[in-house]
């Protein structure tokens, strides 16, 4: 590939990537190895160092949900405490003679993951306060169940004095409470103060850090971020937002359960407090103080707060007040957390330094944009058709008894006065809302109950009246996300691969951009685009999903005359390759480009016909213009 030197920083070859991973792992391992000795001159708590390493894992799990999926859980104690209790119960009940740490910890992690999937199945569709309260509610229910199941959990007293579980490794049974060899390290204490537990916890933390880095950089993390940034757009380019959220919730819950299990095994006890609201709140505090959406923030926050707590809580009753003030101070003055003070936040490098050859963009037919099934018009089969379609909002019928049929390859305009139900009708076609009555058929198949996301995969894509974009991403990345949904499907737990490697995605995105003449601004942040470019980008996003039918809701609204004509020409070109439905008030454009026109009025179809028929239809003139002259209809 001739462009390889340019693409190198964007999609590095595999060996380079591995080297970066290895460097990351070595640096993390060094940090974890040095940490207890740095803590020593500050007060020297080898137990604290181990606890911090363990609890950090829960904070990383919490951050995965809050930082990357954008959901604030107020019930993570159910996973943390739940993991602790499960591990302890496994320890006490399954093999009390030969306690096996692997069994307890892995069993507890799996249990926490199952709990997270069950709870997540009902909570992930909710947002903000509703999500926070419902997770809190479930945590309280778990607390209640644990408190009541006294035979298993010892009620309010918690499970105390657990036997020491051994860690079987091949032929050896390792006792993690063994001290390391005694070596004097001067001001940094003595190596012998540490137990093997710290090494084990440190390795676990290292692995979790690597997992977290991999997740957030993977295709999975990329889509999760897109859903957080603009869920409406994400579902309508074909991502199943609930499935992504649920996956994030399950991973987050499993990591938190893992942490709780380790903590219980290390402490040798599981208090009922590990399930409390305060516990849930502590993960919020650790993560926010350290920095959400950062890899090390949760670890840093956990270390700082747990250390301060250890030092201060014995000396002053005001410790919790200090903690609260730190928390509020960070939210108000450093919304991105403490860890961002230490290093300048790296600019998200614009992904595409490479501009692909524009040779692809010009006139030649495009193999990636599938031509619609039957190219000729008026074929026996419609591409989209509705029967008696209706939508009620309360008692108000926004759309009533609409029979509508579009042939493959047609460019149909849908017009009508404001409030005629045009946008509602489009939402019914795209599946954003469900009809109250009637059906929508796509290629002869009833899709009335098919979700919007699934309809995108069938080939129905929509551009919004108000452009719905990912404002913080580049134009290219906006299109790549849509192309990614087409290539990978509505959900893929693709945590190993980065989407940058997918040539199909690049090709689709580049073509969508060039179709809409956006290649020149490919590396601009979408939020910084002009109004016209935003509207065109919205169409490009829809186009990158490889639609067979494209719904455009007022594509030229708010554009200058020149821009509108330019966009009109682009739409006309698109319509040679796919079916296009367009809502528009710009009559010059409607009359100029449409094969046929449907007029909606008060939620019903008033007339359908060629532009000439519609122009001369007296009922249309009456309804649409309230009796104004024909000239106005022609010239907008």
């Amino acid at each position: 590939m001739t462009t390889s030197s340019e693409t190198a920083p964007v999609a590095p070859a595999r060996p380079g990537l591995l080297a970066a991973d290895a460097r990351f792992a070595v640096l993390c391992a060094l940090g974890i190895a040095v940490f207890p000795f740095l803590l020593h001159p500050l007060g020297g708590y080898s137990t604290l160092a181990t606890q911090i390493a363990i609890v950090s894992i829960a904070s990383i799990g919490f951050n995965l949900l809050l930082g990357y999926a954008g959901s604030l859980s107020y019930g993570h104690a159910m996973f943390y405490g739940g993991g602790g209790y499960l591990a302890a119960i496994l320890l006490l009940r399954v093999s009390p003679q030969h306690p096996n740490l692997w069994l307890c910890v892995i069993g507890a992690t799996v249990g926490a993951a199952i709990l997270a999937i069950v709870v997540g199945a009902v909570t992930v569709r909710l947002y903000g306060i509703y999500f926070a309260l419902l997770t809190l509610a479930f945590a309280q229910m778990v607390y209640f169940i644990v408190e009541q199941a006294k035979d298993w959990t010892n009620g309010d007293d918690g499970l105390q004095a657990l036997p020491n579980a051994l860690l079987p490794m091949g032929p050896w049974n390792i006792d993690l409470t063994t001290h390391l060899p005694s070596i004097d390290l001067g001001p940094f204490g003595n190596l012998g103060e540490l137990r093997l537990w710290y090494i084990f916890a440190g390795i676990c933390l290292l692995l979790v850090l690597m997992l977290s880095r991999m997740l957030t950089r993977s295709q999975f993390g990329e889509v999760l971020g897109a859903i957080r940034e603009n869920e409406q757009r994400s579902t309508l380019i074909g991502f199943n937002a609930s499935a992504y959220r649920l996956a994030a919730f399950a991973i987050s819950g499993a990591l938190t359960g893992f942490s709780g299990a380790l903590r219980g095994m290390f402490d040798g006890s599981v208090p009922v407090d590990s399930l409390s609201i305060d516990r849930s709140g502590s993960f919020v505090i650790y993560t926010i103080v350290g920095g959400v959406q950062t890899l090390f923030g949760p670890v840093a926050g956990t270390a700082v707060i747990m250390f301060l707590e250890n030092v201060l809580s014995a000396r002053t009753p005001a410790w919790r007040l200090i903690e609260g003030l730190i928390f509020v101070g960070v939210i108000v003055f450093l919304p991105r957390g403490l860890s961002t003070v230490l290093k300048q936040q790296r600019d998200k490098s614009p992904r595409g330094l490479f501009v692909r050859s524009l040779r692809l963009s010009t006139e030649e037919p495009d193999p990636l944009l599938k031509p619609s099934g039957e190219g000729h018009k008026g074929g026996p089969m419609s591409i989209i058709e509705t029967f008696k379609l209706g939508k009620l909002f309360g008692r108000f019928a926004a759309v009533r008894d609409v029979d509508f049929r579009v042939d493959p390859g047609e460019l149909r305009a849908v017009i009508g006065p404001n409030g005629a139900g045009k946008t509602t009708f489009f939402n019914l076609l795209s599946g954003t809302i469900a009809p109250s009555s009637g059906t929508v058929n796509y290629k002869g198949r009833d899709v009335s109950r098919t979700s919007g996301t699934a309809r995108v995969h069938l080939g129905i894509a929509k551009a919004f009246q108000t452009a719905s974009l990912y404002p913080d991403q580049t134009v290219r990345q906006n299109c790549r996300l849509a192309a990614l949904a087409r290539v990978q499907g509505s959900f893929a737990l693709q945590v190993f691969r980065r989407s940058m490697r997918l040539d199909d995605v690049d090709n689709l995105a580049e073509r969508a951009m060039s179709r809409l003449e956006l290649t020149g601004v490919a590396d601009t942040r979408a939020g910084d685009l002009s109004h016209g470019d935003k509207k065109r980008l919205d169409i490009a996003i829809a186009l990158a999903t490889q639609p067979q039918i494209l719904l455009l809701d007022e594509p030229v609204a708010g554009m200058s005359k020149d821009e509108a004509r330019k966009t009109e020409a682009l739409i006309r070109k698109l319509s040679t390759e796919m079916t296009v439905l367009v809502i528009e008030h710009d009559m010059e454009m409607v009359m100029g480009i449409s094969d046929s026109i449907t007029v909606l009025h008060q939620g019903t179809v008033l007339a359908t016909g060629t532009p000439a028929e519609i122009r001369d239809n007296p009922r249309v003139i009456e309804a649409y213009l309230g009796g104004h002259s024909e000239a106005e209809l022609t010239h907008g």
């Binding site: 809050l66 954008g70 604030l72 009902v122 909710l126 947002y127 903000g128 306060i129 509703y130 926070a132 309260l133 419902l134 809190l136 509610a137 479930f138 309280q140 229910m141 607390y143 209640f144 408190e147 009541q148 609201i277 709140g281 919020v284 926010i288 009753p317 005001a318 919790r320 007040l321 903690e323 609260g324 003030l325 928390f327 509020v328 939210i331 108000v332 919304p335």
Partner: protein, 289 residues
């Protein structure tokens, strides 16, 4: 039978406290679009101010000082911290108000200690009233009547004044109200102070019944949020219905099987969220954010 009546009256009193806090939450959300996790702190501050005034000056003054002090605190908080969070996403609002709740709770603990405290009503109000088969403390009945009168006044404020118009319009369409401009800033301040003052007054008035410790604010806040969600965010009558429902549910469960009384309200909320996500009397147009 008598126990049942007792429990139902107890549920009414408890429910009215929830209603009062929930109404404050709802009107603040409606006008400011602020999800206020620090609302329980207003209750607690009102209770402690009431406690100090009642012990040193007189019970009557406690009922005057508590709402005023809490309203002033709320306005200060609003100006210093919360104002910059109005336009942020709900998660950021939840976090900052949670932090404020934490700070208030710990400050109260430093000043007043962690122990449970209470003040006694004057002799005249300490008696009991006989209602058919049961006798009930007079102050509790008076308290219930007082809260009902207060809620009626709040309702009149919402329905009959210009500020109330902004509250109602804000619940429907926040942006439109902002576009109308003008005195919305002033209205927000008044509504925030009013919501806080209600919580503060109820806190002071309820202390002879429920006693107070620094964690009480949060302990009342969470069920009140449940009430708001069950009743429908932004709905006055939703808050009333939800509050009475949750109060009775908790009180009756306590009678039937005490350990479950803390968890039954969450079950109730989970059911409502699953079956009718906008809440019992919520309008579906109010966006669930």
């Amino acid at each position: 039978m008598e126990a049942l009546f007792q429990a139902m009256l107890g549920g009414l009193v408890l429910g009215l406290i929830y209603v009062a806090i929930a109404v404050g939450l709802t009107i603040i959300f409606g006008t400011l679009r602020l999800v206020n996790f620090a609302h329980g702190a207003f209750y607690a501050i009102g209770a402690y101010v009431g406690l100090v005034i009642a012990q040193h000056i007189g019970v009557g003054w406690a009922f005057v000082a508590a709402p005023i002090a809490v309203a002033l605190f709320a306005v200060l908080l609003d100006r210093l911290v919360l104002r910059s969070f109005y336009d942020k996403e709900p998660t950021a609002q939840l976090l900052v108000t949670f932090g404020i709740a934490l700070v208030v709770e710990e400050t109260l603990r430093l000043i007043f200690g962690a122990t449970t405290q209470q003040y006694r009503m004057p002799e005249a109000l300490q008696g009991s009233v006989t209602l058919g088969p049961i006798t009930y403390p007079a102050y509790r009945l008076l308290f219930a009547a007082g809260v009902i009168v207060m809620l009626a006044l709040v309702w009149l404020f919402i329905e009959r004044t210009n500020y109330g118009l902004i509250v109602r319009a804000g619940i429907r369409d926040r942006i439109m109200v902002q576009l109308l401009g003008g005195n919305i800033r002033q209205a927000s301040t008044i509504v925030f102070a009013l919501g806080a003052a209600i919580a503060g007054l109820v806190g002071a008035a309820a202390t002879p019944i429920y006693s107070i410790d620094p964690a009480t604010g949060f302990a009342f806040l969470v069920p009140s949020f449940v009430v708001v969600v069950v009743g429908g965010l932004g709905s006055f009558w939703g808050a009333v219905l939800g509050g009475l429902l949750i109060g009775e549910l908790q009180s009756l469960t306590n009678l039937a099987y005490a350990p479950a009384s803390n968890v039954v309200i969450y079950l109730c909320m989970a059911l409502v969220l699953l079956l009718r996500p906008q809440g019992l009397l919520g309008e579906s147009e109010v966006i669930r954010q």
